[in-house]
Assembly symmetry: C2
Homo-oligomer: 201 residues x 2
Amino acid sequence: MSPTSRTPQRRGRRPGAPATRATILKAARRSFAESGFAGTTIRGVAAKAGVDASLVHHYFGTKDDLFLAAMELPVDPRQVIAPAIAGGVEGAGERLLRAFLSLWDDPEISPVLVGVVRSSLQPGGERLLSQGIFPVLVFPVGEALGIDRPDVRMPLVISQIAGLILTRYLIGLEPIASMPADELVATFAPVIQHYLAADLP
Amino acid sequence: MSPTSRTPQRRGRRPGAPATRATILKAARRSFAESGFAGTTIRGVAAKAGVDASLVHHYFGTKDDLFLAAMELPVDPRQVIAPAIAGGVEGAGERLLRAFLSLWDDPEISPVLVGVVRSSLQPGGERLLSQGIFPVLVFPVGEALGIDRPDVRMPLVISQIAGLILTRYLIGLEPIASMPADELVATFAPVIQHYLAADLP
């Protein structure tokens, strides 16, 4: 953002692209926080930001894209997950876990994700997960893999991944916190695969 | 606590048992919160409460007992877990899960436990788990079952139980949040049993 674009006395046309992007992102973050993912619309974010809805689409694409942009991750997690899905359900537990670790073990990305999880675990914060991250990032994995009962299996996968996030990244429980990626994969991938593909009770 | 024991102008002898118990519990809670489980001593709590250490022992027993008393659960979770351990490692996954559910699905106990978990997931709060609940309640289970590598297996069990707590009780993720106990046991007990007894990588 240039110093000029921050001056509060500006008049006439809205400032250039970087400032407008930032204004939209700020409005989006406020809307996701206040109204949840389901209660947020591109139109509403545009109104909050004082721009036209087409500009929000132009900069950010869909509401899913805007949601992920508002998290300010240095990568789009969907691009990291996509190759893990492409191989089909066989071995998907291991590939998904490796994709997961490539994001969560990245020292630039991990603190952002830890922050997201911490806020989502406070009372009322669960909407960020149930209305945002799960439908945008997690449930599409089950659909893309073509597994039966993705509505049951993906929550089971989430339960084990959530426990891994908690022990490894939030509370630092040893030996999980310091396990090398290969050992983590050898330990947890069979359970993820079980939830993806084994008979359900 | 009687009205008399609450008057701030009291002199001479300390008030009767209920008020002293409450004073000790308050001091214990402050100490566990400020210094963690490891940094708390019976002697220190006694000093904070202005009573003799023997009185703390008399009312509460060991430091483990005092820690659990400070959580103010209507039952001692160790007594709930004990029968699940007694049967040995075979079937322990199922028995432990049923003991777990009998506590967490109890509408009187659940809110207290949810509160404990929420605080422990805030920055710095993990000591309540790593220095309190795990050594007092969880790790003794592995030792009592006589499993090999309890130092690895119990954290793996914790990872799945933590994910169950998160999805069922903290964020209410369906279908896990509404699953009847029997279906939960059928779903998760094989994974708990796997972590307790299957070959480690």
